[in-house]
Symmetry: C2
Subunit: 307 residues, 2 copies
């Protein structure tokens, strides 16, 4: 049995304050505090590229899990839509920088906010098929590379971060069944055109508000679980407003679906692992439902259970 | 049991003649005929983007396999490093254009010449884990989007194409075990810097000449097969020179490892499915070994067996 053995994350120290930019963007405190829920957004050092963020979380993982022999890593997958280069894949660059063995498989997955849930499903199934023992799933999607600083709808929202999840034997959490979905007709609502990110916030909100509660109920049914059997809901941290809405729609206690990103923002595919890392050692959390949703439009939900 | 049920391909009609460009690039007939082995390279219509190439092969597949209900497609994966946009993923755009159901999972895999073998392994394992019945693997990596027409080392070599493979039940070929590898330290040898493709042909050749024969022997051992039990070797069509070299190194009959791309060039992740399509109905071909290698540096080998 394989599953999640450990997680490390990196949120760059650089910050842009949303309160300091409220006049420029004509927004008020209520909007920042109660709608966005994001007070500051994280910004990476310009010298750190996507592969560099992956190396940072890898270093933290190695410190945490020592002794861990890098020669035993069978596969690394990087989930990003802001790679170092369109080619080669960022996982190869990370592989080279870390000096991993030539027997290590590497590939990139191009997905946004649904990427962690998809990435876990893809990596775990790939590992099982080849009987691999140790795999690393990286998320690193630094939107600061494509954000127009003058664009209120994205500049106040997205923060940079990265994560790495060690998937291996004797896991802390193992995955249940997953649910996936796509509404490709909505692809223009969150898009990088000519190097600049564009978002139609209203469309993304409307889609998420309707689709995510439905998908969480679907994935729970697939796993024969009910809402009240779930100890924690890890919802992609799109904004405070969307989390509040989903919580109400599902009728779950707000404390079971935390919103934790006021100090760094929506970190795309890193938002779920950032929360998950903090509960790995909390034995009270036995069953988790998670859901990622956004660019694509794409969504994915899953269940994690402490074996 | 799932596996390869059908394949369709698309090679755009546009062509650039290498003979007509030999003076400009200071190459002779011997180089074009015996080293490259590529007389003309295919070029897509500028109006066709990557998602458009995918739609073209999909239309051909639907004509071939009719009646096939698009509502039964559980997942589509697009392998490309030249997507329509860095975000969203191209599979979502294809999903939207084709009007596929919302229950369809979609993701992109970023890999180059090793992408078909990896893609098949990733998609098949993903489908098995979720008990999916029908999946489509697209390859579409139109290098013409990033080729400098004045760069002899790439402009004479790469052609545009796309493929789609229907993975489902009652397959014509099923996969055996796979082998994967990465030499990330070599990532600068084939790279898109600032929108232009750069290749160090000598390094790519040296890497492929050494690594691919070794990996084919490794994957055959994994599948308990010997070289003489293989009816056909489908080697990524890098150039005639590299195919000739691998054939000699392995000591296999040249007719078992065809080189078929003189009229359109090296089509990256589409080169293996273009050859595979033509032997699906050839009952004499019972066991196939395939190997993709290149950008990353990355390689992947696999075995296909007629059930």
């Amino acid at each position: 049995m394989i599953g999640i053995c450990s997680i490390e994350t990196f949120i760059p120290k650089g910050r842009l304050s949303n309160f300091e930019r409220k006049d420029r963007f004509d927004v008020n405190d209520d909007f920042i505090i109660n709608k966005l829920g994001i007070y500051r957004v994280s910004r990476k050092d310009p010298e750190d590229d996507t592969s560099g963020l992956c190396c940072r979380v890898y270093d933290r993982l190695m410190q945490q899990t020592a002794p861990f022999d890098p020669q035993t890593i069978d596969v690394i997958a990087v989930c990003t839509q802001n790679p170092d280069y369109s080619l080669p894949h960022t996982a190869a660059i990370v592989h080279g920088k870390l000096g991993l063995p030539e027997t290590c498989a590497t590939f990139d997955i191009s997905l946004g906010c649904s990427g962690y849930v998809y990435g876990l499903a893809i990596l775990e199934s790939f590992m099982k098929a080849s009987n691999f023992k140790n795999g690393l799933l990286f998320t690193a999607d630094p939107y600061s590379k494509i954000i127009d600083p003058e664009d209120k709808s994205t500049s106040l929202l997205f923060g940079d971060a990265a994560s790495v999840t060690l998937v291996g034997e004797n896991p802390i959490f193992k995955s249940g069944k997953f649910s996936f979905g796509t509404r490709g007709g909505g692809y223009p609502f969150l898009i990088n055109r000519h190097g600049k990110l564009h978002m139609n916030g209203r469309e993304i909100f409307n889609f998420s508000a309707r689709k995510v509660p439905e998908d969480i109920e679907k994935v729970l049914a697939l796993n024969r679980l009910s809402l009240d059997q779930i100890d924690l809901f890890l919802l992609h941290q799109g904004s405070k407003y969307i989390i509040d809405f989903i919580v109400k729609r599902l009728g779950i206690p707000p404390e079971k679906a935390p919103f934790v990103v006021k100090d760094f923002g929506n970190t795309v595919s890193s938002s779920i692992p950032i929360m998950l890392k903090d509960v790995l050692s909390d034995a009270h959390i036995k069953r988790i439902a998670m859901s990622g949703f956004g660019v694509g439009l794409s969504w994915a939900s899953g269940v994690l259970v402490r074996p």
